[in-house]
């Protein structure tokens, strides 16, 4: 049941601060508790569904869902506070907000170990998760004198995530995935410490120094799947009939590299790798960061690659980028075409995704590579993306009429 509460205070009506440059001001705040009805009906009942092909003339049935009588509302507590300010007759508008959403009892596809017969069921997760962050919007009219106009707008989000509590986490199927106090978007893995010059095998941090690399003992937090911040910068400049729009996008984030995940073949197998692998270990004593190539399943290099390397920070890294997302130049021909009774005629050239500045060693940083769906731990909170085409660079030339 929702219990929303909302307050706002318009500063201008009181002229409280009495700052001449301040043309507008508002503080707003809201708090509310909501549930979620985006769930299917009868999800608590165990049911049977067709097993596919008939067997011996009988249309077979198979368990489709487990019985879950403890099925309840999820609870989202949302808090938001923001300040909106306008300066110099609203030529400069600044809006800054803070939000803090706490979700508990979330209905998710809760992970089960396959030995239970299913790999997940819809259930209330006992965890309490906090999503908080700051959002900033700035827009300004830099120049506005008849023929020449220049507007700039800028926005930025700084999201944060934290697992506040999770009773029984240690013995749950999420034990390997989450830590209280950490982000639920953290990624654990081995810490790659280099290549042994004598053997060419990769080496990792053996946290408990027992001489073996095991997930339970030697995993550390190697990264986050949630961006640190992201935003955009847009400029619109027009002179008479000519308009230029330029939009930049920026994201500070980490992501799996090409070598990350359970489907990645060893160095030396017939799959695509970055050209970095050409610096592979090639003989006794060589100092390199790239392990020895192998396709022989019995070799240590093979096992270390499959069991450790592709789950280590050697295969995880920075995927920040700045992208020139959109550039458009348009010319308004309306005056020329008025004679033909056409109200608006515009000719334009538009380019998308023209330039990207990034050090990411993967495919496209905007979708974080095709292996994103294998990011471990697979996150029940919906961050897992399915493989899809990288964003395309497009160039459009057009002529627009309106009658």
């Amino acid at each position: 049941m929702p219990y929303p509460l909302s307050l706002y205070w318009g500063l201008n009506s009181y002229n409280f601060f009495n700052i001449p440059a301040l043309s507008f001001g508002k503080i707003r705040m809201s708090y509310g508790t909501t549930g979620n009805d985006q769930i299917g009906d009868y999800q608590y009942l165990d049911s049977w569904a067709s097993a596919g092909f008939p067997y011996g003339g009988v249309s077979g049935l198979a368990p489709a869902r487990v019985y879950n009588p403890d099925y309840g509302w999820e609870v989202n507590k949302k808090f938001e506070a923001a300040i909106d300010l306008g300066f110099m007759d609203d030529k400069l508008l600044i809006s800054a907000g803070y939000y803090n959403n706490r979700s508990s009892n979330q209905l998710v596809g809760y992970t089960l170990s396959s030995q239970s017969g299913f790999t997940e069921y819809t259930a209330n997760l006992p965890a309490k998760v906090q999503n908080s962050g700051v959002e900033i919007d700035i827009s300004s009219t830099n120049v506005n004198n008849g023929n020449f106009q220049w507007n700039t707008s800028f926005n930025m989000s700084i999201p944060k995530n934290k697992l506040l509590s999770y009773p029984g986490l240690e013995s749950s199927s999420d034990a390997a995935s989450y830590e209280v106090g950490q982000s639920i978007r953290m990624i654990k893995g081995y810490h790659f410490t280099g290549v042994d010059p004598a053997t060419g095998n990769p080496m990792f941090l053996d946290v408990n120094k027992d001489g073996f690399y095991t997930e339970d003992d030697d995993y550390i937090v190697i990264g986050q799947t949630m961006p640190k911040f992201f935003g955009g910068l847009s400029n619109t400049i027009s002179y008479k009939n000519l308009t230029l729009d330029i939009f930049f996008q920026f994201v500070k984030q980490e992501a799996p590299l090409l070598d990350y995940g359970p489907l990645v073949g060893t160095i030396g197998s017939r799959i695509n790798k970055t050209t970095d692998v050409l610096g592979y270990w090639n003989g006794y004593g060589e100092q390199t960061e790239i392990p020895r190539p192998t396709t022989t399943t019995t070799e240590d290099a093979y096992k270390l690659f499959r069991n450790q390397y592709r789950y280590s920070d050697a295969a995880w890294g920075d995927a920040s980028y700045i992208r020139l997302k959109n550039v458009a130049i348009s010319y308004d021909l309306s005056k020329l075409t008025q004679a033909w009774k056409m109200q608006g005629t515009t000719i334009y050239v538009q380019g998308e995704n023209l330039v990207t500045f990034t050090k990411y060693k993967g495919l496209d940083p905007e979708i974080n590579g095709f292996d994103r769906r294998f990011v471990y731990p697979i996150n029940p909170f919906g961050s897992v993306k399915s493989p899809k085409l990288p964003v395309l660079r497009t160039l459009t030339i057009g002529l627009k009429f309106s009658l």
């Binding site: 909302s6 049911s47 569904a49 596919g52 170990s113 017969g117 995935s177 019995t298």
Partner: protein, 463 residues
């Protein structure tokens, strides 16, 4: 202001809504119309029967499933039976006995086994609560469910060692259950097959031999006792099936793997409709496209050489092709890659095994003459001469191993499990698999299972 109005409306609605949510009596909700809930699934014989038919359908629906390639090819790669003619890492890991916990076939085997176990447990619980299912049907389905559960645990325990022993559908408890000692799992296997033996009837529920009956349960019980070294029990159970007039060894070896052959105790019907003309997935993989073409799977020379001269099984159950001046052999028990109508079904349990079980059990009890007689039954069908009458116990045990090797090759991992249970695996396989160690005889627990259940431990030699 727009924003504000919206919240005010919410505020208003919430105050109006509260009194309604506060009512004392819950609304009774009828069961869903477009979903079959458990209570209804066990309301009559027809739908109850469908719950078991579903298990077999899923087991064999597609390529690389529990009911076909997963169970018969992977252990054959790991032993000295046959191997993939090309190289692919997930197959190579079996061939080279260098499995990693990520291996997709290992994971698939684990997950499908436990999914059938849940399915069987759900049938058992559904039947226990049911009032609408007839007594006869209840016994049949309960027997089948226990059989399937025992069958899955038999293979799980022999592949992975200690495994979680899950005997109900309480998934919230089961998801974090630790591994149970292999010996206890095998006790549960014996209990399930014994119950199934009591509950199932001699007749098959259908006209075909595609659903387990009493003889199937008895055969699995005999095999389980053999694996446990309970020789007397193994021989006793084997005898029950050997004396059953429903089953015969066929003189013509080429007819053994046909559907509903008199040698079949349990077969899986071909249900697939996705790939045209598939009879068995084994045949689909093993038999080349063209009669003279190359095969994808080649027998190890060790197996080729293991056949005695004149063994009719070599002539009828293997086939050769020549490429690059070299002759290669492949398993040819199933002869059909694709053909309609369907003539072959996947053989899961067949009659010949019972003579071999009894021969070994009798030898272990020093009943050498009787044991030799059983082996000679198998040898005569293969057009081989009888064993020499003066063989000692060790020699007869060696003859049993030899006969099992050439009789049961390429079927359900018999060779792999035989090498392990007789303690000979490393010694026998070392010449062709130089890296093999005792750790490789137990498969790794899949990484996905380890990650989702902190109570699981990994087998020695894997990480």
């Amino acid at each position: 202001m727009q924003h504000n109005n919206k919240y005010f409306a919410f505020l208003l609605i919430s105050f109006i809504a509260i009194p309604f949510f506060g009512c004392k009596k819950y609304v009774e909700i009828p069961p869903p119309e477009n979903q079959l809930v458990t209570e209804n699934a066990f309301s009559d014989d027809r739908t109850a029967d469908a719950t078991m038919a579903g298990v077999y359908s899923i087991m064999n629906a597609y390529n690389y499933q529990f009911g076909n390639v997963l169970s018969s090819f992977m252990p054959a790669f790991g032993a000295d039976e046959f191997h993939y003619a090309f190289s692919t890492s997930s197959f190579d890991e079996f061939k080279n006995n260098s499995l990693t916990p990520d291996n997709s076939y290992i994971r698939s085997f684990w997950e499908s086994s436990y999914s059938f176990i849940y399915h069987a447990n759900a049938v058992i619980e559904g039947l226990q609560k049911s009032t609408g299912v007839s007594e006869a049907m209840k016994n049949q389905l309960m027997g089948e469910a226990k059989f399937v559960r025992g069958f899955c645990y038999f293979y799980l325990a022999n592949r992975f060692g200690d495994v979680p022993l899950i005997l109900n559908t309480d998934y919230k408890v089961n998801t974090s259950m630790p591994r149970t000692e292999k010996a206890k799992v095998m006790d549960a296997v014996v209990a399930d097959f014994s119950d199934a033996q009591t509950l199932l009837s001699d007749n098959y529920i259908s006209t075909e031999r595609i659903r387990p009956n009493k003889a199937a349960a008895t055969t699995m019980l005999a095999r389980t006792y053999l694996f446990l070294g309970k020789w007397n029990e193994a021989a006793t159970e084997a005898t029950k099936v050997i004396n059953n007039p429903k089953y015969h060894l066929l003189d013509n070896l080429n007819n053994v793997f046909l559907k509903n052959s008199e040698e079949a105790i349990w077969q899986l019907q071909s249900v697939n409709k996705s790939t045209a003309g598939v009879n068995t997935w084994e045949g689909f993989n093993l038999v080349p496209f063209s009669p003279t073409g190359r095969a994808y799977y080649n027998l190890y020379n060790e197996l080729v050489n293991a056949f005695e001269p004149g063994d009719a099984r070599f002539a009828n159950w293997t086939k050769s092709y020549v490429t690059g001046g070299k002759t290669y052999y492949f398993p040819y028990k199933y002869k059909i890659r694709t053909a309609t109508p369907v003539q072959e079904y996947t053989m899961v349990i067949r009659f010949a095994e019972l003579y071999l079980i009894r021969a070994e059990a009798l030898t272990q009890q020093n009943k050498l003459d009787e044991a030799r007689a059983d082996l000679d039954v198998i040898r005569e069908r293969a057009e081989l001469s009888d064993l020499a009458v003066d063989l000692n116990k060790d020699q007869i045990l060696a003859a049993v191993a030899q006969e099992r090797r050439v009789e049961l090759f390429a079927e359900w991992g018999h060779r792999w499990f035989d090498l392990i249970r007789t303690g000979k695996a490393v010694e026998v396989l070392k010449p062709i698999k130089p890296d093999i160690t005792v750790n490789d005889l137990v498969y790794p627990i899949p990484r996905s299972a380890m990650r989702t259940n902190p109570a699981l431990t990994q087998n020695e030699g894997y990480n």
